[in-house]
């Protein structure tokens, strides 16, 4: 979906309830009372929009990219939290049961517990829920637990807020606004059911088989899967999938991994996986033939379709996975454009597929620059960090400033590389990056 259209639809969803309340039949009360009600409505509509920004819908994240989608999801949640927490404290009107003659609830804010309990519970749960999301990287907090608890928790909180809105909300007594709240909540529920039930069902019909798992560098494994009874995955070089190895698709035991194979190389799909979390530590014990499931492809590190005269591919660590996929596909396509891969890691032993990359560099169109952060004796290549000086030497020429730059790696490295590229004079819309820190 076009990013502008996406932003327009998102803002419309957030503002629609407020606009309907403003043009409805109920007259405004004091400034603080109206701020309180408005804050409650905005917080609820943002919470409902969050379901669509979960990163699992390619129609949304396809164009703007997964990084932007997830950052938007994480940041607007904080906005919703702040205004949700302010919501009950701004009321100035009397907290009383509604007066029988005050059918439009002009004079009071209901103190009826039957209407308030759900809001109070959500008020407690929402900060805890967001705190758990922020702490998701902590040890002993497995990815699967995180995913399931986040999905179910979001539905519970949205359900509580819907109940509170329909029973205690002054403006939600208007049948049109009530219908909008119910419709938006239903859409949020459908998106949850899609991700947690329908998508796994579809995955069940398109199983994969683990063809091989082998170590290719220090703590890095190459996993290859083959489609079973279907044509495989329609992906572009540089994309990633959520990969589930050996578990039911309903278990949500899946992790995001970049595809390192080229789509033109056949139906089998390869990944480079670094031992990091709970699943990746046990990779070596997964037998050949294990059933696998795939959710994807996702991600926008896609060079196909870009008309740039050349490509700068910059990566650190296991971020090489999507970039090696891109290089392989460029070679298969016999793409005439020059490309430079800058590949940084701590020591030379950690470089993956070094021989293949050196072979690719024999082609006059391809340059590969290995950068060792902690070089051993005798290392003749660049060492230290991928910094402004190194990138300047490689890319600070008039013709290379129009290249497309594709970045994948650890967030601190990408931040400094983006900074250096901008300093060199690369336009920001010529930089594609994925920080690879998804949920």
């Amino acid at each position: 979906m076009n990013p502008r259209l996406l932003v327009a639809i998102s803002l419309s969803v957030i503002l629609l309830p407020l606009v309907l309340a403003a043009i409805g039949a109920r007259p405004p009360r004091s400034l603080l009372d109206e701020l309180a009600s408005g804050a409650g409505m905005l917080a609820f509509s943002i919470i409902l929009l969050e379901f669509a920004l979960s990163g699992r819908f390619r129609v949304i994240s396809g164009k703007i990219g997964m990084d932007v989608t997830m950052r938007a999801h994480q940041r607007i949640a904080r906005t919703a939290l702040v205004i949700a927490l302010l919501h009950p404290f701004l009321y100035q009107a009397e907290w009383n049961p509604p007066y029988p003659w005050d059918v439009i609830r002009l004079e009071t804010v209901t103190s009826d517990l039957a209407s308030l309990w759900s809001g109070m519970l959500a008020f407690v749960l929402l900060p805890a829920f967001i705190a758990l999301a922020i702490m998701r990287g902590q040890p002993n907090y497995t990815y699967e637990t995180w995913r399931l608890s986040h999905g179910v928790g979001a539905v519970v909180i949205a359900g509580l807020v819907l109940h509170h809105t329909l029973s205690a909300g002054r403006y939600a007594q208007d049948p049109v606004l009530a219908a909008v709240w119910i419709a938006l909540s239903a859409l949020a529920l459908i998106s949850f059911l899609w991700v947690y039930a329908a998508a796994p069902l579809l995955q069940l019909r398109r199983p994969w088989r683990v063809e091989s798992i082998r170590p290719v560098a220090e703590r890095i494994w190459e996993v290859e899967i083959a489609p079973e009874g279907h044509r495989g995955l329609d992906y572009k070089a540089g994309q990633f999938v959520w990969l589930n190895l050996g578990n039911s698709p309903f278990s949500h035991r899946e992790n995001p991994f970049s595809i390192s194979s080229a789509p033109g190389s056949g139906p089998n799909v390869q990944f480079l996986i670094k031992e990091l979390g709970d699943l990746t530590r046990s990779l070596g014990s997964i037998p050949q033939g294990t059933r696998a499931y795939v959710d994807g492809p996702h991600g926008n590190l896609i060079v196909a379709g870009h008309d740039a005269p050349g490509l700068g591919l910059i990566t650190g660590g296991v971020g090489i996975a999507p970039l090696i996929g891109i290089l392989r596909q460029l070679a298969l396509d016999d793409d005439p454009r020059p490309r430079v891969l800058v590949y940084a890691d701590r020591t030379p032993e950690q470089f993956v597929h070094r021989a293949e990359l050196e072979a690719l560099a024999l082609d006059a169109r391809t340059d590969v620059v290995f950068v060792a952060d902690e070089p051993p004796d005798g290392w003749t290549g660049p060492s230290g960090r991928v910094d402004h000086a190194l990138l300047g030497n490689l890319f600070d020429t008039p013709e290379r400033r129009d290249w497309l730059f594709v970045l994948c790696g650890p967030p601190p490295m990408l931040t400094s590389v983006e900074d250096a590229l901008i300093d060199i004079g690369i336009a920001s819309n010529r930089i594609l990056s994925e920080k690879f820190d998804y949920d």
């Binding site: 503002l15 403003a22 405004p28 603080l32 109206e34 701020l35 408005g38 804050a39 607007i76 906005t79």
Partner: protein
């Protein structure tokens, strides 16, 4: 200046967009509360 805007666009784009969003939310809230 252009460099500064570019830097904001890439480096701090999520902050920039987020604060624009927050401003919009505040403006909408104020407009709603002040409509009377």
């Amino acid at each position: 200046m252009i460099d500064r805007i570019r830097r904001i666009h890439t480096q701090g784009r999520s902050h920039l967009y987020w604060w624009s969003f927050n401003l919009l939310v505040c403006a909408a809230l104020l407009a709603f509360a002040l409509r009377g």
